[in-house]
Point group: C2
Chain length 406, copies 2
């Protein structure tokens, strides 16, 4: 196998160029069609590739979009207030540099003539049903969201289960901690956190945006949290692409989700995975609407759960009273039913008033809870903080356990 | 737990409305900033949610995008030639209906004033580094890409491994077949297909677009293909977001990938998973540039692989000759080295000429191969066909096997 370096380089240079061109044809293969005037073909990300975002060591981030024919391009990002106009260069590329602190994972998008779009140059996208944002991941040695070479990494499994309730194949993500694959040999079983995302999020959002797996890896490695499974279901019950529910359908969404979780998802997980059974080994948490679903599920079935995390959760006192007023008539009983009732809320969160109203209702029932206040708004930056705060609290009595110890 | 239906409905109706509004604030929370004029706020997917795409039973598909301020919106999709203008309604929503056959999974995008964007209403996106397309999944009882309730489903695991070669934490997807979790108990081990995607694709593309997991589930269930693991690495070696390589760097990409695959990925997989070792239990395949990487890897290390699938593969005879001319000087030896050398190419594929040129080189060496011709171009619709054709061929001698039988 002799190498002929000069010859090789030449031919591979051609290969690289052609492969790129080929990919362009793959995307825009339609241009060979007779009904397209070549001169009307806009230069796209393919014709004029840019790198975006580019993060400098000082925290300065430059965003770029090739859009020579657009009239107006703005940057929208959760690292700043308002939108900012980007500036068009003579190369047709719009650019803007922004100083961003603190290091975090921030959703952002470009707004092209009024349409919000993701960054074509960035492979990291925000899984959602209604918008397509991109993710700026700022490097940070201390951030819990960054995988570390010396921290053993768990896995996230994309599973499907058959929901008899819905008559549909349903998606489900399951994080398994490092060492899980040896569980069958060692006889270890694990506690389970069921973790729900928000309105229009998908089953992927806690993984791709929330980085629940990386945070769990880090906190287990440091000994702060138990090793556990994290199950991430699809919080919105209808199939992907189904129109938003009517008000009547939405009214049943909390109860629907609780039924799906307890009648379909938990049995599937406990049949497929090595998990500990018993309420002290199950927790449920969620962000935004998912927080409401977590509260509703936990209070509906305290025989199944011992802890609940409500991250900027939406659920009204009226719903609580209608469904759980009787159950919580005696606060002490509620405390014994659910060991941990944890609420997190940001100072600028538009749901802050609603959460505080809900907590006053808990106060009126004499029910204890933990409240964690952050700065900031209704963001996934805060959702990650809430998760990191609560992972050590769900199973303080330990993580994986030998089957023999049951 | 008494239900008060009337009261409940009212309060939950408000909850649903507010949750939606809240999500809008989450996305566009910046609008409260003082530097934004409310009147300049475009109506977005949030203000005017649409459902798109909508597939009718007769195969008619309606695409829709809310873009009241855009000057020109076109539809681009691999189900048709050319772009087509969409029509703006009085509600600011651009729409177009298209008859689409056959049922398949088609990438498509909108082109807004010259910028290609994904469909904000569709959660199914095409993982890629350079463009953001959406996926139209047409329902079909016969298509291999559709999960079936009565077909046991495997799982796709998002893993990371530490590459000593690169000094980076690297992503890797691993499909495990149904029953894999019981392997430790039953002592079964599995053959492995290493499957590489194309230029600017990511490690997710064979999963999200190629549906390799669903196709493998279906073919294993019907008995046509062995149960196997499918390992999907990231074919482009630099980290996500790194600028496209210079020609000099690109020239080394085939050899770099082969080294990463054989020195890092295979050892990781064989340490982490229950797989059969020995070249007859390893195959490598890929699409486009990934097909070239598969050919290069297989011919570089025939001691590790017994079969290769080259799906519309890019690799020139010059590279083959420079690296493998000596090895293949005796065609019979090549045949004994690699049992299966499979090539697939579409009649309209822009790489067809290149593939045929490469095959003439194989002919000149007297090396046998299998050639599968399809209609169509350099598309993922064809990539799925090639995968379905080859899965039964990689391990005709069987799938999972009891450890004791080794």
């Amino acid at each position: 196998m002799k190498r002929r370096a000069g010859h090789l380089k030449g031919s591979l240079k051609a290969a690289a160029a052609c492969a790129l061109c080929g990919a362009a044809v793959l995307l825009a293969g339609s241009f060979s069609g007779a009904d397209v005037q070549p001169e009307s073909r806009p230069r796209s990300a393919w014709d004029n590739p840019v790198t975006s975002p580019v993060v400098e060591p000082d925290g300065r981030v430059t965003f770029a979009l090739s859009a020579p024919d657009a009239g107006r391009v703005e940057l929208s990002g959760q690292f700043m207030q308002g939108r900012r106009m980007m500036t068009k260069g003579t190369d047709g590329v719009w650019r803007l540099s922004v100083e961003i602190t603190p290091a975090d994972i921030y959703p952002y998008s470009f707004v092209v003539d009024g349409v919000e779009i993701s960054d074509p140059s960035n492979p990291l996208t925000f899984p959602n049903e209604r918008f397509k944002a991109s993710l700026l991941v700022m490097p940070s040695d201390s951030a819990l969201y960054e995988p570390q070479a010396d921290v053993p990494a768990g896995q996230v499994r994309y599973c499907t289960y058959w929901s008899r309730r819905m008559g549909l194949v349903r998606p489900l993500l399951v994080y398994t901690p490092p060492g899980y694959d040896r569980a069958a040999a060692t006889g270890a079983d694990y506690p389970v956190l069921y973790l729900v995302s928000g309105t229009t999020d998908t089953e992927e959002t806690w993984f791709k945006v929330g980085r629940a797996n990386v945070i769990a890896d880090r906190l287990a490695e440091s000994g702060e949290a138990a090793r556990m499974l994290i199950v991430m279901p699809y919080g919105y019950m209808p199939a992907h692409g189904t129109p938003a529910p009517s008000s009547a359908a939405a009214a049943g969404m909390y109860a629907d989700f609780a039924a799906e979780l307890t009648e379909e998802i938990i049995p599937y997980v406990e049949q497929q995975f090595r998990v500990r059974s018993g309420r002290e080994w199950r927790a449920v948490a969620g962000f935004s609407r998912g927080g409401g679903q977590a509260l509703f599920s936990a209070f509906s079935r305290p025989d199944l759960f011992s802890a609940v995390g409500a991250y900027a959760a939406y659920l009204t006192p009226e719903v609580m009273e209608a469904h759980f007023g009787e159950l919580l008539a005696d606060g002490h009983r509620a405390d014994s039913l659910l060991r941990l009732k944890w609420f997190g809320i940001g100072s600028d969160d538009f749901l802050r008033g609603g959460v505080e109203e809900n907590l006053r209702w808990f106060d009126s029932k004499g029910v204890d809870y933990e409240l964690f206040r952050t700065d900031g708004g209704h963001t996934w930056m805060n959702a990650r903080k809430y998760l990191a705060q609560t992972l050590p609290l769900f199973f303080p009595h330990g993580g994986d356990s030998l089957q023999a110890a049951h």
